[in-house]
């Protein structure tokens, strides 16, 4: 019996001593953390996508507190998160950041674009890029359709549908991973508010584009003439919309003979 009691007492004393030691250590070797950093970290989405340019949300929070990153620098969280962080930091978020999404500048699905060959081999876009004529489709600029973008998307927002990648605008947070992954450089980040977009990247001349794809920009320039804002430019047989000028009037889409400019 005495043995049991002594054991309990010894253990209790040892436990107490250890506890005191830990209390002492945690007080003496404490690392000063800015309480704001923790608060900012709480506001961030926490999926560590790295789209802000920092190594995950912790690094982003530290950078915001140090003043190295803007309070609205998280592209995933957008305006709401920016406002919350601004509150923590005691500043105003400034211009509310508008929601932006990724957009694939190609609508060359299997039924509109001609194929050049049967491809048998590794099914990734990088591998298809090594084919003569870049991929299976006759167009050397278009979506290869093997889903390198789908593989990197952390938000399940981009999928290959019928041979061409499509973005799910409700899920996309403009983290930009697909932009970096696309070997054809087809994906760009655009404001979500602008519904009209040029859905082609071909720099080929009109007649050739017509021959190989029913959804290709033929570079006719009708849209440039239609746009009252001067937001559309034509370079290398391809129309391009400047979204800082675009007012979404839709006149370009109305006139586009190839229906390349249309609602996303």
């Amino acid at each position: 019996m005495t043995m049991v009691i002594s054991t309990v007492i010894v253990l209790a004393v040892v436990g107490l001593l250890m506890g005191l030691l830990l209390v002492f250590a945690s007080e003496t070797f404490k690392v000063e953390v800015d309480p704001r950093e923790t608060a900012v970290r709480e506001c961030l989405p926490g999926n560590n996508c790295g789209a802000c340019g920092f190594a995950g949300c912790d690094a982003m929070a530290a950078a915001i507190v140090k003043g190295e990153a803007p309070v609205n620098g998280c592209p995933v969280g957008g305006a709401p998160v920016g406002d919350k962080i601004a509150e923590v930091m005691g500043v105003t978020a400034g211009e509310g950041q508008e929601k932006r999404v990724a957009f694939v500048r190609c609508a060359g699905t299997c039924d509109v674009t001609k194929n050049n060959c049967n491809y048998i081999g590794i099914e990734t876009c990088e591998a298809a890029m090594t084919l003569p004529g870049k991929g299976v489709k006759a167009c050397t600029y278009g979506c290869l359709g093997y889903g390198s973008c789908t593989a990197v998307c952390p938000f399940d927002a981009i999928h290959v549908v019928n041979g061409a990648a499509r973005v799910d605008r409700s899920k996309c947070v403009a983290c930009g991973k697909c932009v970096a992954a696309c070997p054809q450089k087809l994906i760009e980040i655009v404001p979500d508010r602008a519904p009209y977009a040029v859905q082609c990247s071909s720099r080929e001349k009109g007649p050739f584009v017509r021959k190989i794809c029913d959804a290709g920009c033929i570079g006719c320039g009708l849209c440039v003439r239609q746009c009252e804002q001067g937001a559309i430019t034509l370079s290398g047989n391809l129309a391009h919309i400047d979204y800082s000028k675009c007012v979404s009037c839709g006149k370009c889409a109305e006139k586009c003979p190839a229906k390349v400019i249309r609602m996303r």
């Binding site: 050049n116 048998i120 081999g121 590794i122 090594t130 003569p132 050397t140 080929e204």
Partner: protein, 459 residues
């Protein structure tokens, strides 16, 4: 005679019997001829003709842009139809000069004028080769005048004529050695004149006994030339493997043959050098094999550069069966073609049409790597493809580079022996491309940063 070789390699079925007995036919193309501005390694040439300009056969239509570049010569006479973007045989859309061929093949003045190379200085010979637009005709397309101007010509002790022709199916070099040994020997004489301390070795695989006999007969009386028999093994004709087999010297991936005292030229290139220097004929035509079980009459041709693949296929009797796969080049390293209305550029030497696609079958049988190590035993550069495969699939590029994955020749040996039928070569080609693209992007970024820093300092 001793037979030399290298470590590794494979023995694909030769299939040369389809066309090896067919004498070289001279083919004069009709219709338009297309000349891509980039048919060589280095900068594309710059056009010196305009639309509607009349041109003669042998006329320079595009000038080399810088030292590592090559002239483009018109192989026909006619009128320049246009200078436009066209699909080329490499599958890239590139600038091409299109000439409306009048079919007369009127030659420029001075072509065919005989010239004694012993009266010329080294610089004059190299200039003649450069002006003639000669590039490596074995496949790489490296400008020959650059090869012939090593920093220390006196240190070159081997001139190797590459007559290995290790790719299955292709027989045009074999036929050239049998029918025109004089051209090749002539080219070697010119090179030996340039490199006084060198001796010439004509390296031929032992599956070409008639070529060996022809060359041996041709070099009779030449004390600085010999014919060397090599084992028939793929890729015997690769530069590094050939240098190793002939001289015993090991080439690092960063070495040029000239660093090891060797100049390696394909026999067709040597023939072109001879014709450029001694006959004042620029590079207008080259040997070409059309073969495969889908071709009606497989054969060897001396074809004008700029002729379309479709036309040369027609010259070989067309197709007798529906091809499942058409390959530009040999089946081991060639590219599958998607369009035959593309021009034959300087470095292409074969068109293979097959009724069966072995790659398609392999794809259906693909399984996981079983780590048997056959690929490592076969790799001619001594890499370990099974590990490279692992890292390439994981996109672990640092480890891939550490295992010298960038030294891969893309010869196809590993994929050929793989019992699990894994597409190794394609994976490595693709990974190399990704790594090199990433590096280029990083370099561009670093440069931009540097410039920004400079700008900041100035402000």
């Amino acid at each position: 005679m001793r037979k030399k070789s290298f470590r590794g390699g494979v023995h694909p079925a030769g299939m040369k019997e389809l066309s090896e007995g067919k004498p070289i036919q001279f083919h004069q193309a009709k219709g338009e001829m297309v000349f891509p501005l980039s048919q060589h390694i280095g900068k594309p040439a710059i056009p010196v003709v305009k639309k509607n300009d009349p041109v003669l056969a042998g006329q320079v239509i595009a000038k080399a842009d810088g030292f590592v570049s090559a002239n483009i010569i018109s192989s026909c006479s006619g009128k320049v139809k246009s200078i436009e973007s066209r699909m080329t045989s490499a599958g890239v859309i590139a600038q091409c000069i299109v000439i409306d061929n009048d079919g007369a093949y009127t030659l420029m003045d001075g072509i065919g004028r005989e010239c004694d190379y012993t009266q010329l200085t080294s610089a004059e010979i190299v200039e003649k080769v450069r002006a003639a637009g000669v590039v490596g005709l074995g496949g790489a397309g490296f400008p020959t005048h650059v090869k012939l101007s090593p920093p220390h010509p006196e240190e070159i002790d081997y001139v190797i004529a590459n007559g290995a022709e290790c790719e299955p199916y292709i027989t045009c070099d074999d036929r050239l050695m049998q029918e025109q040994p004089g051209w090749i020997i002539g080219g070697l004489r010119v090179l030996l004149h340039l490199f006084p301390n060198a001796r010439a070795v004509i390296a031929i695989e032992d599956n070409k006994p008639r070529a060996v006999a022809a060359m041996e007969q041709a070099i009779a009386g030449e004390d600085r030339m010999e014919v060397m028999l090599l084992k028939t093994k793929f890729p015997q004709g690769g530069e590094r493997n050939l240098v190793h087999a002939v001289t015993g010297r090991k080439m690092a991936s960063t070495d040029l043959p000239a660093n090891l005292g060797c100049i390696v030229d394909n026999v067709t290139t040597l023939a072109a050098v001879y014709r450029a220097v001694c006959l004042s004929e620029p590079l207008m035509e080259k040997g070409f094999t059309v073969t495969g079980d889908a071709v009606a009459e497989p054969g060897n041709f001396l074809v004008k550069i700029g002729t379309s693949f479709a036309e040369i296929l027609e010259a070989a009797g067309g197709l007798k069966a529906e091809p499942r796969k058409v390959i530009i080049g040999g089946p081991m390293m060639g590219m599958a073609a998607t369009d035959l209305n593309v021009p034959i550029a300087k470095s292409y030497n074969a068109l293979v049409c097959l009724t069966e696609d072995p790659v398609e079958k392999a794809e259906q049988q693909m399984t996981h790597c079983i780590r048997c190590g056959r690929c490592a035993r076969a790799c001619p550069v001594g890499l370990v493809p099974q590990m490279l495969n692992l890292y390439a699939e994981r996109k672990d590029y640092d480890r891939y580079v550490k295992l010298h994955g960038l030294d891969c020749l893309g010869c196809g040996t590993c994929a050929f022996v793989c019992p699990a039928k894994r597409p190794l070569t394609q994976l490595f080609k693709m990974t190399k491309g990704v790594i090199l693209r990433n590096r280029a992007a990083e370099a561009a970024k670093a440069k931009e940063k540097e410039e920004k820093a400079k700008e900041a300092v100035r402000v």
